[in-house]
Symmetry: C2
Subunit: 306 residues, 2 copies
């Protein structure tokens, strides 16, 4: 099975502390890396996680608050120094390019060896913003103080695997394999029809990861993230700070857990912790009381989407 | 004696590594903090050093390369979150405001509780860019690929101290103290002239710190930094990479040490190390061979200017 992992580079909220850095993650899928948000320090955490910059071609920015995107200029600068030649695609809400392009250009040499390509989206409806042979990325509209969305990384349905012993028994030529894997039967030279289901084993179930930060409690996202294997949901505040959460358009631990429960996700990872909490285990206990399969994000954590 | 210390927040060159962060320092003088350069990560290192943001009112940027200033937007954002009310003065080469103001403004709330005040200078001649009762900061013209200067932090000459036993013997009224400390004699009610030198002890010698980064070997700075107590001089490369140093307008360890030697400084601290060196002690040995009282910069180091 192909790799599908999430690396937490930073999972604090806006005020950085010695315990948590500003938000950034990397989704590793089939050998490619996709960065989600890029707070200050993302490039250093990327290096610490021993991830390879050459594998990173797409960065997705949830919203234009500094703690989710101010690492971008430094990351691009470092790519320049490292002699990058592949274009870097940055996806973000409308306004991204107007804000970042002049600033990033000012720190780039005129003969820069790659381009930064900006892709903007509206955050008011789910839309597909990236697709390749194996993966689709959709936006998830969130509710925050500024236009904001999460991202749903969905593996495409796989195709069935050939059973080697059946290949051998019927001497199936290789040029028939693709058709059979896609659902076809095999007709022997003697005219015998061997059905697809006998020749193959089922594809693994398609996996998915949903990233939801920053947002207030917003159950309207539940249908879109229904049944994902892994949900990252912000839990900036403890339930004791419900009022602050509502005022700042953030979520509590209970909000995050209720979303996970309603969406029947496989596992919940909470993050974007307010700087006020010196011990995150309080937050974990609150979330687990509602959704037991919850873990705490922390810098350096790698979680498999499975 | 008043505090006069330098905190190294980051002392790597442009490519950040797990060993060294991008350039930033804080000069602590008489209870006030002055930041020198502000590479990405400066705000976090500032917090780790347990420095107080309220004491920081002036930031000096040597040049507009990203590794010396990309921490600025995040630092300002965090000041906003912390409810800062005192204006923050950012001093830098011409072009600073045009580059940073629109970008920083975009991440600031309309009702921001303090102003960022930009002060620009030409880097082609030494000039005083900050002065208060006890301290002067001058630019030091450096030679780099873009307009660049260092900074000379010079304590002002102090005034003599009153000798308590002489105050007592001559019953000197407090309103005469300032005149006497500034050099005056004391005339008793009976007409006796008691000379200044009998009434006072000498002021401590004024201290100074010179920051020189980034620059190629440039002996024309020697007269300006003559006799400083502490010199930070970049030493991006080992002597074996002399050619690379010249090509990139940087210095080698030997360049830094020769400047220190020619200027008869008290102590040299070298930094801005290229990412290629896994062990900085090679760099230290090279510099010490020319200027023995050399130390290596490292993140978290605090050096007294004495």
């Amino acid at each position: 099975m192909q790799t599908f992992d999430v690396y937490i580079l930073g999972c604090g909220s806006a005020t950085p502390t010695v315990r948590h850095l500003q938000t950034s993650q990397v989704v590793s899928f089939c050998g490619q890396l996709y960065m989600v948000d890029c707070g200050e320090n993302a490039q250093l955490q990327f290096t610490k996680a021993r991830l390879r910059p050459g594998r990173l071609e797409h960065i997705f920015i949830s919203h234009l608050h500094g703690d989710h995107c101010l690492g971008l200029p430094g990351l691009v600068s470092t790519c320049t120094l490292l002699g990058r030649t592949t274009d870097l695609h940055v996806h973000g809400p409308v306004g991204l390019a107007q804000l970042f392009k002049p600033f990033i250009d000012a720190f780039s040499p005129p003969d820069m060896s790659f381009k930064v390509v900006y892709h903007e989206f509206n955050t008011d409806r789910p839309q597909c913003i990236y697709e390749d042979q194996a993966l689709k990325v959709h936006t998830i509209p969130l509710t925050h103080r500024v236009p904001c969305c999460g991202f749903l990384f969905a593996e495409k349905e796989g195709v069935a695997h050939m059973r080697p012993e059946m290949m051998e028994r019927y001497k199936i030529p290789y040029d028939k394999v693709n058709d059979i894997r896609m659902g076809g039967d095999y007709v022997t030279p003697g005219g015998e029809v061997v059905p697809h289901r006998l020749l193959t084993t089922e594809a693994e179930p398609a996996r998915s990861y949903a990233y939801c930060s920053d947002t207030c409690y917003n159950p309207s996202i539940v249908p879109q993230i229904q049944g994902v294997n892994l949900l990252y949901h912000e839990a900036t505040y403890s339930v004791a700070q419900q009022e602050a959460a509502e005022r700042h358009f953030h979520s509590t631990t209970a909000d995050a857990a209720r979303i996970a429960e309603a969406a029947h996700v496989g596992q919940l990872v909470i993050g974007h912790f307010s700087a006020r909490y010196l011990d995150d285990t309080l937050l974990l206990r609150e979330a687990q009381a509602i959704f037991p399969n919850t873990v705490l994000a922390c810098e350096g954590l790698k979680i498999s989407v499975a």
